[in-house]
Amino acid sequence: MRDLVYFAHLLLGMALVALPFVIRSLLEKKSALAKPVSIATAALSWIMLLPSGILYTVFYPATKTVVKAGSWPWAHSIVMETKEHWGLLLPVIVTLAAILVLQNKGKESRKWWLLAAVLALLIGVLGRIVKMGAGA
Protein backbone atom coordinates (compact mmCIF):
# COMPACT_ATOMS: atom_id res chain seq x y z
CA MET A 1 0.00 0.00 0.00
CA ARG A 2 2.72 2.45 1.04
CA ASP A 3 4.81 1.75 -2.07
CA LEU A 4 1.81 2.21 -4.36
CA VAL A 5 0.94 5.56 -2.79
CA TYR A 6 4.58 6.62 -2.80
CA PHE A 7 5.00 5.89 -6.52
CA ALA A 8 1.74 7.67 -7.32
CA HIS A 9 3.06 10.66 -5.35
CA LEU A 10 6.39 10.50 -7.18
CA LEU A 11 4.89 10.12 -10.67
CA LEU A 12 2.34 12.90 -10.18
CA GLY A 13 5.07 15.14 -8.81
CA MET A 14 7.28 14.51 -11.83
CA ALA A 15 4.30 15.15 -14.12
CA LEU A 16 3.78 18.51 -12.41
CA VAL A 17 7.39 19.42 -13.16
CA ALA A 18 7.16 18.41 -16.83
CA LEU A 19 3.62 19.38 -17.86
CA PRO A 20 4.02 23.14 -17.29
CA PHE A 21 6.85 23.13 -19.85
CA VAL A 22 4.69 21.13 -22.27
CA ILE A 23 1.92 23.70 -21.83
CA ARG A 24 4.30 26.63 -22.34
CA SER A 25 5.43 24.97 -25.55
CA LEU A 26 1.81 24.41 -26.67
CA LEU A 27 1.02 28.06 -25.93
CA GLU A 28 4.05 29.12 -27.96
CA LYS A 29 2.75 27.11 -30.93
CA LYS A 30 -0.81 28.39 -30.31
CA SER A 31 -1.91 24.75 -30.16
CA ALA A 32 -5.55 23.90 -29.44
CA LEU A 33 -4.23 21.29 -27.00
CA ALA A 34 -3.09 23.98 -24.56
CA LYS A 35 -6.51 24.28 -22.93
CA PRO A 36 -7.30 20.57 -22.40
CA VAL A 37 -3.75 19.86 -21.19
CA SER A 38 -4.00 22.83 -18.80
CA ILE A 39 -7.28 21.50 -17.40
CA ALA A 40 -5.78 18.01 -17.01
CA THR A 41 -2.71 19.44 -15.26
CA ALA A 42 -4.88 21.42 -12.83
CA ALA A 43 -6.89 18.26 -12.12
CA LEU A 44 -3.67 16.27 -11.53
CA SER A 45 -2.40 18.92 -9.11
CA TRP A 46 -5.49 18.40 -6.93
CA ILE A 47 -5.44 14.61 -7.32
CA MET A 48 -1.81 14.77 -6.15
CA LEU A 49 -3.05 15.85 -2.71
CA LEU A 50 -4.57 12.40 -2.19
CA PRO A 51 -1.31 10.37 -2.14
CA SER A 52 0.42 13.33 -0.46
CA GLY A 53 -2.19 13.34 2.29
CA ILE A 54 -2.07 9.58 2.80
CA LEU A 55 1.72 9.59 3.02
CA TYR A 56 1.78 12.58 5.35
CA THR A 57 -1.04 11.67 7.72
CA VAL A 58 -0.74 7.86 7.77
CA PHE A 59 2.89 6.95 7.08
CA TYR A 60 4.96 10.03 7.89
CA PRO A 61 4.45 10.13 11.70
CA ALA A 62 6.76 7.10 12.13
CA THR A 63 9.37 8.64 9.81
CA LYS A 64 9.07 11.94 11.67
CA THR A 65 10.10 10.27 14.92
CA VAL A 66 13.20 8.84 13.22
CA VAL A 67 14.11 12.16 11.57
CA LYS A 68 13.69 14.18 14.77
CA ALA A 69 15.82 11.70 16.73
CA GLY A 70 18.53 11.63 14.06
CA SER A 71 21.41 13.96 13.29
CA TRP A 72 19.28 16.09 10.93
CA PRO A 73 16.28 17.15 13.06
CA TRP A 74 15.93 20.22 10.84
CA ALA A 75 15.00 17.84 8.01
CA HIS A 76 11.63 17.66 9.70
CA SER A 77 11.40 20.99 11.53
CA ILE A 78 12.34 23.10 8.50
CA VAL A 79 12.31 20.95 5.37
CA MET A 80 9.25 18.75 5.88
CA GLU A 81 7.21 21.54 7.48
CA THR A 82 8.00 23.78 4.49
CA LYS A 83 7.34 20.99 1.97
CA GLU A 84 3.96 20.02 3.40
CA HIS A 85 2.74 23.63 3.30
CA TRP A 86 4.26 24.65 -0.05
CA GLY A 87 2.47 21.60 -1.42
CA LEU A 88 -0.88 23.13 -0.45
CA LEU A 89 -0.23 26.21 -2.57
CA LEU A 90 0.94 24.24 -5.63
CA PRO A 91 -2.56 23.20 -6.87
CA VAL A 92 -3.80 26.77 -6.41
CA ILE A 93 -0.93 28.08 -8.54
CA VAL A 94 -1.52 25.42 -11.22
CA THR A 95 -5.26 26.14 -11.21
CA LEU A 96 -4.65 29.87 -11.58
CA ALA A 97 -2.36 29.20 -14.55
CA ALA A 98 -4.96 26.89 -16.13
CA ILE A 99 -7.74 29.46 -15.63
CA LEU A 100 -5.61 32.10 -17.36
CA VAL A 101 -5.19 29.76 -20.34
CA LEU A 102 -8.96 29.16 -20.43
CA GLN A 103 -9.50 32.94 -20.30
CA ASN A 104 -7.23 33.29 -23.36
CA LYS A 105 -4.50 34.92 -21.27
CA GLY A 106 -1.85 32.43 -22.30
CA LYS A 107 0.94 34.98 -22.22
CA GLU A 108 0.06 35.99 -18.64
CA SER A 109 -0.04 32.32 -17.63
CA ARG A 110 3.54 31.57 -18.72
CA LYS A 111 5.28 32.80 -15.55
CA TRP A 112 2.74 30.94 -13.39
CA TRP A 113 3.48 27.67 -15.22
CA LEU A 114 7.18 28.30 -14.62
CA LEU A 115 6.51 28.95 -10.93
CA ALA A 116 4.47 25.73 -10.72
CA ALA A 117 7.26 23.67 -12.31
CA VAL A 118 9.98 25.20 -10.13
CA LEU A 119 7.86 24.75 -7.00
CA ALA A 120 7.05 21.11 -7.86
CA LEU A 121 10.77 20.47 -8.42
CA LEU A 122 11.74 22.16 -5.15
CA ILE A 123 9.12 20.12 -3.28
CA GLY A 124 10.65 16.98 -4.78
CA VAL A 125 14.13 18.04 -3.66
CA LEU A 126 12.82 18.78 -0.15
CA GLY A 127 11.24 15.33 -0.07
CA ARG A 128 14.59 13.78 -0.93
CA ILE A 129 16.26 15.72 1.90
CA VAL A 130 13.66 14.44 4.37
CA LYS A 131 14.35 10.86 3.21
CA MET A 132 18.06 11.44 3.73
CA GLY A 133 17.30 12.81 7.18
CA ALA A 134 15.55 9.55 7.93
CA GLY A 135 18.68 7.67 6.90
CA ALA A 136 17.23 6.38 3.61
Partner: protein
Protein backbone atom coordinates in the same frame (compact mmCIF):
# COMPACT_ATOMS: atom_id res chain seq x y z
CA UNK B 1 -18.90 32.38 -15.81
CA UNK B 2 -16.56 35.02 -14.42
CA UNK B 3 -13.81 34.19 -11.97
CA UNK B 4 -11.02 36.42 -10.68
CA UNK B 5 -8.16 33.93 -10.23
CA UNK B 6 -5.77 36.68 -9.16
CA UNK B 7 -8.01 37.72 -6.25
CA UNK B 8 -8.38 34.05 -5.28
CA UNK B 9 -4.60 33.60 -5.38
CA UNK B 10 -4.01 36.63 -3.15
CA UNK B 11 -6.52 35.40 -0.58
CA UNK B 12 -5.24 31.80 -0.61
CA UNK B 13 -1.60 32.82 -0.33
CA UNK B 14 -1.97 35.04 2.70
CA UNK B 15 -4.54 32.83 4.40
CA UNK B 16 -2.18 29.84 4.12
CA UNK B 17 0.80 31.83 5.45
CA UNK B 18 -1.33 33.16 8.32
CA UNK B 19 -2.63 29.68 9.19
CA UNK B 20 0.90 28.23 9.15
CA UNK B 21 2.17 30.85 11.60
CA UNK B 22 -0.97 30.82 13.74
CA UNK B 23 -1.09 27.04 14.05
CA UNK B 24 2.50 26.90 15.29
CA UNK B 25 2.19 29.84 17.69
CA UNK B 26 -1.27 28.91 18.97
CA UNK B 27 -1.58 25.16 19.57
CA UNK B 28 -5.31 25.63 20.25
CA UNK B 29 -5.79 26.83 16.67
CA UNK B 30 -3.88 23.81 15.34
CA UNK B 31 -6.03 21.57 17.54
CA UNK B 32 -9.21 23.27 16.29
CA UNK B 33 -8.17 22.61 12.68
CA UNK B 34 -7.42 18.99 13.54
CA UNK B 35 -10.76 18.59 15.32
CA UNK B 36 -12.73 20.08 12.44
CA UNK B 37 -10.90 18.39 9.55
CA UNK B 38 -9.33 15.27 11.15
CA UNK B 39 -5.81 16.72 10.58
CA UNK B 40 -4.47 20.28 10.71
CA UNK B 41 -2.84 19.87 7.26
CA UNK B 42 -6.15 18.85 5.71
CA UNK B 43 -7.83 21.81 7.39
CA UNK B 44 -5.30 24.24 5.97
CA UNK B 45 -5.68 22.68 2.53
CA UNK B 46 -9.48 22.84 2.55
CA UNK B 47 -9.55 26.44 3.79
CA UNK B 48 -6.88 27.52 1.29
CA UNK B 49 -8.86 25.98 -1.58
CA UNK B 50 -12.13 27.49 -0.31
CA UNK B 51 -10.54 30.94 -0.09
CA UNK B 52 -9.40 30.64 -3.72
CA UNK B 53 -12.88 29.69 -4.92
CA UNK B 54 -14.95 32.05 -2.74
CA UNK B 55 -12.78 35.15 -3.19
CA UNK B 56 -12.32 34.37 -6.90
CA UNK B 57 -16.08 34.44 -7.42
CA UNK B 58 -16.72 37.27 -4.95
CA UNK B 59 -14.33 39.58 -6.81
CA UNK B 60 -15.15 38.26 -10.28
CA UNK B 61 -16.07 41.70 -11.62
CA UNK B 62 -13.36 43.62 -9.79
CA UNK B 63 -10.34 44.29 -11.99
CA UNK B 64 -9.10 47.27 -9.96
CA UNK B 65 -5.77 47.67 -8.24
CA UNK B 66 -4.97 46.10 -4.88
CA UNK B 67 -2.69 48.09 -2.56
CA UNK B 68 -1.74 50.24 -5.55
CA UNK B 69 -0.63 47.24 -7.61
CA UNK B 70 -2.18 45.60 -10.65
CA UNK B 71 -3.98 42.44 -9.53
CA UNK B 72 -1.64 40.29 -11.63
CA UNK B 73 1.38 41.71 -9.79
CA UNK B 74 -0.32 41.59 -6.39
CA UNK B 75 -1.13 37.89 -6.96
CA UNK B 76 2.41 37.12 -8.10
CA UNK B 77 4.05 38.79 -5.10
CA UNK B 78 1.47 37.29 -2.75
CA UNK B 79 2.29 33.76 -3.95
CA UNK B 80 6.05 34.34 -3.67
CA UNK B 81 5.59 36.16 -0.36
CA UNK B 82 3.57 33.30 1.10
CA UNK B 83 6.23 30.74 0.09
CA UNK B 84 8.99 32.89 1.60
CA UNK B 85 7.04 33.54 4.82
CA UNK B 86 6.44 29.80 5.25
CA UNK B 87 10.10 28.73 4.92
CA UNK B 88 11.39 31.77 6.82
CA UNK B 89 9.01 31.06 9.69
CA UNK B 90 10.15 27.44 10.06
CA UNK B 91 13.84 28.43 9.84
CA UNK B 92 13.27 31.12 12.49
CA UNK B 93 11.31 28.74 14.71
CA UNK B 94 14.04 26.08 14.48
CA UNK B 95 16.98 28.35 15.23
CA UNK B 96 15.29 30.45 17.93
Amino acid sequence: MKFNAYAGMIASSWLLAAMVVASELAPSFKQALASAFSHHWIGKGVLTALAFVIIGFAFASNAGKIAGKRQEDAAWWSALGSLVVIIAFFVFEFVS
